[in-house]
Every structure is written in C-alpha cells, then in structure tokens.
C-alpha cells in the first residue's frame, strides 16, 4: 500500500509539473510575441508557432539544470513530495486565474508562492526564509519593471529621434525584422530558463521517490516532455495575456516594438549574468511600458499597468493560499486518497476557469482588436480582455460618459447662473 501511494504521488507530481510547464509556456507567450502581434510584424498564428519552436529549441540549448526548488526561499529540508504537489497546484491555479483576467504575471513567482504556502501549511513559519522571500521575490518584482521602463524608454526615445525623417515604410520594414529577431531571442531565453525549472522539479521528485540515483543527470524523457509541454502551451497561445501586453498598455508601432523587445532581451540576459534574477514577465511588461514612456506623443494606460502591479504583489500570497489549502486538504485526508483529492481539485478548478474563459473568448482572430477603454462602447469586450468583474467592468464607459456629461452639466449650470446673477444685479 505504501509503495503504491509513493508511486502514485510520484506520478502525479510529474504530471502536475508538466502541467505547470504547460501553463508557463501558455502564460508567457506574450512576453516575447505580444508586440510583434500587435504591430502585425507577424501574423498571430505565425508568432505563436515561432515562439513555440524557439521555446522547444531553447529547452535543449543548455542543460545546466538547477535541481532546486525555491532555493533560498524555503528550507530545502522540508520540501517533500506532498509539499511539491501542493505548491505546483498553487502555481498552476494562480497562473490560470491571472490568464483569465489577462494579466501577465510571473509564472516563477506563482510557483514560489505555491511552495511557500505549502511549506507554511506543512511546518509553519520556520520553514520559510523570509529574507529570501523579500530579496528574491518582492524586491525584484518592484525593481524589474522600473529597470525595464528606463532601458526601453531610453531606447525608444533614441530610436524615435534617429528615425525622424526616415520614410515610414522603410523604417517599418527594417524594424519589423529587428522586432522579430529580438522577440525570438526573448523566446529562446524563456525556453532555456523556464523549461529547466520544471525539469529540476521532476528530477528532484524522481530522486526523492527513489526512481533515479541522487547524482543522476536529467533523464532524456524528462527533457523532451518538459520541452514539448512548454512548446504546446506556447503554441496554444495565452491570447488574453498577449492582448493586454500588445494592445492594453500602449499603442505600439514597429519601432517601439523593436526597442521594447531588445530591452527585454538585454535586461533578462544581463540580469542573469550579474546574478540579479528578474522575472521575464516583469521585464517584458516594463519594456512595453517604457516604449510608451520614451515615444514622444504616445499614451500609456497606467490604469491597466497599475492593475498588473497589484497582481504581481498579490501573486505570492494568493498562490501561497492555494498551495496551503491544498496541503491542508492533502494531509487531512491523508494517504493516496489525499493526493488524489488534490489532483481532482486541480482538474476541477482548471476546468472551471477554462469554462469561465469561454464566455468571452480571446483568440488569434480578435487579439488585435482596438483596446476597449478608448472605444468605450464595447463593454463586453472589456470583460473579455481585462476580466474585471461587476462594477469595475463597466467603469471605463461611465467614466468617459460622465466626463462629458459633467462638462455639459457645468456649462448648463453656468448658463443658468449667469442670468440669475444678472437678474440680481438689475
């Protein structure tokens, strides 16, 4: 019985890790490709296919797998298979929720959050290294967008200045290629970095379950399945996130797109070189914002951006909550039944989120539609893309309407009051 439970747990952890890898690819397609899709440098389907292939290649590029989970954030001694499973479920569920709302949020932060929550539920606060949480998760989440905004802003400003007077179609043609090139580099970097996180988790699970010796390298089937899971997720395309990044923050042209993607690639590669790891998602989002800041005359929708920042800050506690709940349930039921229960919860909540997404689908056909907060009329589409519930959903429209009606009201008050004053004077 015990052996059966162990084997089952191991199998479910591997499957869940692959599922996380899938949501990771799916959630992060936009980081590389959103701007290329928005500027129509690439057709939406072509862009996700290119990104999927590059993620696949990237996963094989470098095999320096760090076989650690949340190193320096939780006490490595308390990370058992049930904890890993609960943490993965927390990461997946938060990834799916943010996808539903079209918010680009960091997949690795979701995973770390899930792990922290599961560890808290398992052994209490002693298992979490809080200094690590602050210095490796919270501070980078604040710093990454600022660095990226500065870099992309400077790049965009220089590009805008240097291309002044260059015929539009010439600059479009050139920058289209530059944009595709730099976006490809971001995709490749993503494949190399993120596929290896899942590989590391599966390797650790295999070692813990005794399926491979402790000094084992990554078995080939693990590399292959992780690469394929991420590529499949990428190809499916997180269209909601792509739409927010490409259309929601800034109206972007090819010059801005090229500057933003180059900035993303440079900051991501440099930050890992200098050992100050920044989230790909946070950097990519900051770069898009920066391309709006640096472009003379461009408008940045800070309202959309601030919703994202909030989501980034609650990623850790929210994913942690899911992870903790899963772990409590797992240990309360106990044994194989507890493990299966957690897995069932994962499937049920994923299905529920998917069903919710079908009500207002975003796919490759409508990913590039004009952003609704400026159109105003299409309230429904706002819900589809930002996923705001209830009152928030209709907020942009009344806001625009009241702005004009208030103006009219002030005018009418003015016209009423002037004769009134006149009559008093006379």
């Amino acid at each position: 019985m015990d052996v059966v439970t162990e084997t089952l747990l191991l199998a479910l952890v591997v499957v869940t890790a692959l599922a996380f890898d899938f949501t990771n690819g799916f959630h992060d397609t936009g980081n590389a490709m959103a701007t290329s899709i928005a500027t129509r440098a690439l057709k939406p389907k072509t862009a996700v296919l290119l990104s999927a292939v590059l993620n696949l290649v990237g996963a094989f590029l470098s095999l320096a797998v760090a076989a650690t989970i949340a190193k320096g954030i939780v006490d490595a001694g308390v990370v058992t298979l049930p904890v890993v499973l609960a943490g993965l479920v927390g990461g997946i569920v938060w990834n799916l929720i943010t996808w539903l709302f079209g918010i680009p949020s960091s997949s690795s932060h979701a995973l770390v959050g899930g792990m922290v929550g599961a560890v808290l539920a398992a052994v209490g606060t002693s298992g979490v290294l809080w200094t690590g949480v602050v210095s490796k998760v919270l501070v980078p989440a604040l710093v990454a967008p600022l660095v990226a905004i500065a870099v992309a802003g400077a790049g965009t400003w220089l590009v805008a200045r240097l291309t002044r007077g260059v015929p539009q179609e010439v600059s479009n043609r050139g920058f289209r290629w530059g944009q595709i090139g730099s976006a490809s580099l971001v995709s490749l970097a993503h494949g190399t970095n993120d596929a290896q996180k899942s590989m590391g988790i599966i390797l650790l699970a295999l070692i813990a379950g005794g399926a491979v010796p402790a000094d084992s390298g990554v078995p080939f089937w693990v590399i292959l399945s992780c690469a394929l899971a991420m590529a499949a997720g990428t190809y499916l395309g997180g269209w909601r996130v792509i739409r927010t990044l490409g259309k929601g923050l800034v109206e972007i042209d090819t010059r801005q797109g090229m500057a933003a993607e180059t900035s993303s690639a440079a900051v991501i590669l440099l930050s890992s070189h200098f050992g100050f790891s920044l989230s790909t998602t946070h950097v990519a989002t900051g770069s898009v914002l920066g391309s709006g800041v640096g472009m003379p005359g461009a408008k940045v929708r800070w309202g959309v951006a601030s919703r994202m920042f909030v989501a980034w800050l609650i990623t850790l506690p929210a994913a942690g909550l899911v992870g903790a709940l899963c772990h409590w349930m797992e240990s309360a039921i106990g044994g194989a039944a507890g493990t299966i229960a957690v897995f069932v919860v994962l499937i049920a909540s994923s299905a529920a989120i998917w069903l919710a997404s079908r009500r207002k689908p975003v796919d490759h056909t409508n990913v590039n539609e004009a952003w609704d907060e400026e159109k105003g009329a299409t309230v429904e589409a706002v819900a589809a893309t930002t996923g705001e519930a209830g009152g928030e959903r209709v907020a942009p429209v009344p806001a625009a309407a009241t702005a004009s009606s208030v103006g009219a009201a002030i005018e009418s008050v003015g016209t009423v009051s002037v004769p009134a004053q006149g009559s008093v004077q006379s």
Partner: protein
C-alpha cells in the same frame, strides 16, 4: 535594507542594460537611417543632430537614392554590431550562463 537589495548587482544591470538595451536599438535605427537616407532635401549626415523642423515622413514624393559608399559603410558597421550583439546573446544562452 542592503540585505534585501543587492545594490551592486542592480546598478550593474541598470547601467549595462541601458548601454546594451538602448544602444542596440539606437544603432539599428542609425544603420537604417544611413541606408535609407531621409526625405530628399537636406539629408542631415550627422546622426543625432537631425535638422530642425520635423518633416512628416509621408509628405511629398520620397525618393530613396542609393546610399553613398560612406553611408553604406557606416550602416554596415552599425548593423554588424547589432548582429554581433545578438550572436553574443545566443552564445551566452547556449553556454548556460543564465
């Protein structure tokens, strides 16, 4: 506070990021500009010091002549640096430096 932020690493990322992340697009733009030329009149040769009076790019007939050898060479240098940087990034990825 310094426990939480590695200021040194952050500073390096910011400075290097500005040089590379902003410099590469700028070089790319410069290369493109040298290749394409500007609208026919008063093509400013010196980059970074564009002629005053912004002209809408679509105004009037745009003729794109062959670039002079000097411009062509400059463009090749600029774009070459860009390609080199991309290649360096690839090598960095493959070598597992991440």
């Amino acid at each position: 506070m310094s426990d939480f932020i590695e200021w040194g690493a952050l500073g390096q990322v910011l400075v290097a990021g500005l040089i590379v992340g902003a410099g590469i697009p700028a070089l790319f733009a410069l290369g493109l500009r040298l290749l394409a030329g500007t609208t026919t009149e008063q093509a400013p040769a010196a980059p970074g010091a564009p002629a005053a009076g912004e002209r809408p790019a679509s105004a009037g007939a745009v003729s794109i002549g062959r670039p002079t050898p000097a411009r062509l060479a400059g463009a090749i240098v600029c774009l070459g640096v860009v390609v080199g940087a991309v290649a360096f990034g690839l090598v960095f990825l493959v070598s597992g430096g991440h």
